[in-house]
Symmetry: C2
Subunit: 488 residues, 2 copies
C-alpha cells in the first residue's frame, strides 16, 4: 500500500502497522447496542468512530466486512451473573413481549444511526438469532475441559484456562489481583472461582427469554454471543475487533478466553477501543441521570443546551477529538463546533468561485499528503480536520486575491476536501436546511423590494408581491418596524 | 363495538363479524418478504394492504400485535422441495456471505416500506433467529406420529394427517385431486406421498446455511418458520393471518397442518388474502421479466412509464382497489390516480378557507357514517375513497358559495378527512415537494419582476435581482425566449 496505516492495538499496547490477514479483505467486528432502551450518546460515539474507520479503510481500497451485533437477548444486570434480566423486567413492567421492546429500540437505534449518517454494517446479527451456534461453542469449550456444568448452568473455568493461556492479557490485569478484588456476591455459590463467568444460565421460572439446551431451559451468557458471531461471519481469526473501552474488561477479556478455549487460536489481530464521553465534565450514564439523548441533542430539548444541534454538527464535534481520547459534551463546545462546521462547508463552496491562476502559492500535494498522514496515524481525525482548515484558509486567501491556485490544484483540492469531508468523516451537507434557507432568502429579497415600492408609494407593486406570495402559501406580516412572514 | 367490522374469511369462504379472541387485543401475522433480492411490487401491495388493516384496527381502538417475518434462510427453489437454495446460490455467485445478502435486501425492503409510509410491525422475527423453536416444533409433530425421518430429513405425513383433519381446507382442494395432479419430480424418492413436505432437510455439502439438529446438519423447511413464529409471538391460536393469495396453497395449507399437528388446535380464526398485481394486463413476476421495481416507479426509470410517481400516489392508487381484487398497473392509471390524489389534498386544504355558515346543506354525520361503513365492510377502501370525494365535492361547493357548512361540521369534516386520509389510508402530504414548489414559485416571481425591469431598461434592478439570487446559490440563465434557473 502507498499509505501504510498504523493503529493502536490495545492488546499489544502499541501502535502497529495494519497488515490484514487476507488483504484486500478486512474483517471488522464491533460490539453493538443492547436494545432495551434508547441508544446512549456514548455508544453513538463508539459506532460513529468505527463508521469513520470503516469508511477510511474502504476509501483506502480495502474490502471490509463489517459486523456489528444487536444484543436482543436480555443479559444479567451485573457482571456477577446474578440479578434480573433487563429486557424481561421491562417487558413485565410494560406488559409487552420482549421482542416488541427489541423491535422498538432497534428501530430507534437504526433511526439515530441514519441521522448521524453512519453506514449500515455489512451484517447485523442478533444474539437470539444464534442460539444454536452458542450452544455449539459451549459444547466445544466443555469438550476442552475449560467449562463445567452445575445445576443446569455452565461456567467458564478461568483458573484452568489460565494454566495454559493468560486471562487478563487485554486489560493488563493478572488473575491474582482480580481474585483479591472480588467480593462474594449473591448467586456465586455455583462457581469454582469468582472470576468464572456463565456460558449458559438455567432460567428462573420468571425469566421470559429462554431456550432448550443440553443442560437446561435457559439462556446464553452475554459474553458468548460476540465470540460466536464474530467467528461465524469473519472466521476464527480476523483483523479488527472494536468497542467502547468500558467493554475491555470483562467482556472482551471473556471473548478472548472463549475463542481461545473453543478454537485454539487467538481470535483478533487488532483490538481497538474508543474512549468515553463526558457531559459537562462528568461521566455520562443512564444510571446517574447525567445523560443526553440523541433526540434531545438534535432538538435542544434538554436544560444543558441553549439550542438544538444537527446530527452532522454533532458528528463533526465528535470527529474533532481522537477516537481514543475522552470527549466532553457541553453547549459551548457544540456552538464552537457548529461554527467550525459551517466554516468548512463555506470553504468548500467558495472553491467553486475561485478564478484559476497560472501558479499556485499553496502546495496542494503536500497538503493532501498531510491529510492522509493524519488518518494513517491511528485515524487521527482532529489532525485531519486541522489540515482541512489549512486548505480552507488557502481557499479564502485565493478568493480575496491574497493567494492563487491553478485549475488543476483547485480540482485536486475539491476532490480531496469532498472525499475527506463527506466520504471519510461522513459529514453531509444539510440540504433540507439549505433549501429552506434559500426560500427564506428569496422571500427576504421580495420583502425588501416591497419595502422600496411602499417607500415610493407604488402600492400596486407592493400589493402584487403580497398577493402572489399569499397564493404560494407565504403570508407577509407587517409589523411595527419590519415585515415578517410565515410559510404554510 | 359501535361499528362492528366484517371481514372475508378465506377459511370459511364468507364474510364474518370480526370478534377477536381476547379483545381489545388483536394478534395479526403476515408472511413477510424473502430477502434475497429487491422487494417485488406485488409484495408491496400485500404489505401496504395489511398496513392499512393494521392502521384501521388500531384506529378502531384495538391493540394490535402485528408480526411480519423476514425469511432470511434460503428455501428451496420450488415447492417440490428440490433444487438449489436461492440465497446460497446468489451468495456463491456474488462471493458474499448469505447474511450479507440478507442485510442488503432487508435494508432495501425497510427503505421501500418507509417510502410507502407503512408502519413497522410490532415484531419482525427472522427464520434464522428461530432455528431452536423450529426444531422443537418438528419434535412435537414427530411425537404425534405425523412426520417421519428419512436419511436425515424429516417430512410431514399428509395422508396420516388427513385421516383426522382436512388437508386442503383453506384452499378448498381435496387430497385425491392434489395427488392426481402431481408429477414425479426429482428428489421425491424419500417421500411417502408426493404431497408430503419437508420439515427439515439434510444439507447437501454445497448448501451454505445449515444448522445441527437431532436428524442431520441441515435447514428447516420453509413452511415451518411461519407456524413457529406466529405461535411464539401470538399464541397457538390467534386472530388474523394474512398474505398474498399465491401463498394460500401450499404455504398456508401447510402452516395449518403443522400447527394442528403440533398443537392440536386450529391456529387462525380469520385468514385474509390479498389479490395479485398485474402490469399492463399481464401477471407481474420476476421470472417472466414483466416487472417494475418500486424504485423505477418512483423515478420513472422504466419504459412502461412516462414519468415517476411518488410513493404516496402509488399507495393511493393501490387503495383505490379493494385488497382482495386484482389490480392492474399502467401509466395511464397512475396518472389518473395522481390527479385524484391531488384533488383530495387540495380539498383538505380548501376546508381551511371556508367561512362557516349558520346551517349546513351537507349531512356530515351521515357522510362520516358512510366512511366507517365502507371500512367496516371488509376494509373497502375504494368505497371509502369515493365517499371521501363526496365530502370534497361538498367542500368545493361551500367554497363557491353553492353550499354551506357550520363551524362544527367544518371541524368534523376536517377530523374525519384527515383521520381517514392520513391515519387509516396512510397517505401523507409531500412536504419536501411542496417546499421546493414554493421556492420555484418565489424565484419565478423574481424572474417576472426582473423581466419588467429589463423592459423598462432598469438595468440596476435587473442586475441586483440576478446577483442577489446568485448569492443564495440560485443561478439565472437567460435563454432566447425566457429565463430559466438552477438551484445549487
Amino acid at each position: 500500500m502507498e499509505h501504510p496505516i498504523k493503529l493502536y492495538n490495545t492488546l499489544t499496547r502499541q501502535k502497529e502497522a495494519f497488515t490484514p490477514l487476507n488483504p484486500p479483505l478486512v474483517g471488522m467486528y464491533v460490539c453493538g447496542p443492547t436494545v432495551y432502551s434508547n441508544v446512549h450518546l456514548g455508544n453513538c460515539r463508539t459506532f460513529i468512530s468505527f463508521d469513520m474507520i470503516y469508511r477510511y479503510l474502504t476509501h483506502m481500497g480495502y474490502k471490509v466486512r463489517y459486523v456489528r451485533n444487536i444484543t436482543d437477548a436480555g443479559h444479567l444486570e451485573n457482571d456477577a451473573d446474578s440479578g434480573e434480566d433487563k429486557i424481561a423486567k421491562k417487558a413485565r413492567l410494560e406488559q409487552l413481549e420482549p421482542m416488541e421492546i427489541v423491535q422498538r429500540y432497534t428501530l430507534d437505534f437504526r433511526n439515530v444511526m441514519a441521522q448521524f449518517n453512519a453506514l449500515p454494517p455489512s451484517i447485523e446479527p442478533t444474539a437470539t438469532g444464534h442460539i444454536v451456534e452458542q450452544i455449539e461453542m459451549i459444547e466445544k469449550i466443555l469438550d476442552e475441559g475449560l467449562a463445567y456444568e452445575v445445576n443446569g448452568s455452565v461456567y467458564f473455568d478461568v483458573n484452568k484456562y489460565n494454566e495454559t493461556d493468560n486471562y487478563g492479557k487485554l486489560s493488563g490485569r493478572n488473575i491474582e489481583e482480580l481474585i483479591s478484588g472480588t467480593r462474594d456476591l449473591d448467586g456465586q455459590g455455583e462457581k469454582r472461582s469468582p472470576l468464572d463467568f456463565a456460558l449458559w444460565k438455567k432460567a428462573s421460572p420468571e425469566h421470559i427469554m429462554r431456550w432448550p439446551s443440553p443442560w437446561s431451559i435457559g439462556f446464553p451468557g452475554w459474553h458468548l454471543e460476540c465470540s460466536v458471531m464474530s467467528s461465524k461471519y469473519l472466521g476464527e481469526q480476523f483483523d479488527i475487533h472494536g468497542g467502547g473501552m468500558d467493554l475491555k474488561f470483562p467482556h472482551h477479556e471473556c471473548e478472548i478466553a472463549q475463542c481461545n478455549a473453543a478454537n485454539k487460536v487467538e481470535p483478533v489481530k487488532y483490538w481497538m477501543h474508543t474512549n468515553m464521553l463526558t457531559l459537562n465534565g462528568k461521566r455520562m450514564s443512564k444510571s446517574t441521570g447525567n445523560t443526553l439523548l440523541p433526540e434531545e441533542l438534535f432538538t435542544g430539548d434538554n436544560d444543558i443546551l441553549d439550542k438544538g444541534f444537527s446530527p452532522t454538527v454533532v458528528r463533526f464535534f465528535m470527529m474533532q477529538a481522537h477516537y481514543a481520547s475522552p470527549l466532553d459534551f457541553s453547549n459551548d463546545a457544540l456552538v464552537a463546533a457548529e461554527k467550525g462546521f459551517n466554516r468548512l462547508m463555506e470553504g468548500i463552496t467558495t472553491l467553486s468561485v475561485i478564478s484559476p491562476a497560472k501558479e499556485s502559492t499553496f502546495d496542494v500535494n503536500s497538503w493532501k499528503e498531510s491529510c492522509y498522514n493524519a488518518m494513517n496515524d491511528d485515524f487521527n481525525t482532529p489532525i485531519l480536520i486541522a489540515n482541512l482548515f489549512e486548505g480552507i484558509k488557502a481557499i479564502n486567501s485565493a478568493k480575496n486575491d491574497k493567494a492563487s491556485l491553478t485549475a488543476d490544484d483547485i480540482e485536486l483540492m475539491r476532490k480531496t476536501l469532498t472525499e475527506f469531508t463527506f466520504d471519510v468523516l461522513g459529514l453531509k451537507l444539510e440540504t433540507e436546511n439549505s433549501s429552506s434557507d434559500k426560500l427564506n432568502g428569496v422571500v427576504e429579497m421580495l420583502i425588501a423590494m416591497r419595502n422600496e415600492a411602499r417607500a415610493t408609494k407604488n402600492w400596486a407593486l407592493s400589493d402584487k408581491i403580497r398577493d402572489e406570495l399569499a397564493e404560494l402559501g407565504i403570508q407577509l406580516k407587517d409589523g411595527k418596524d419590519e415585515t415578517g412572514f410565515t410559510i404554510n
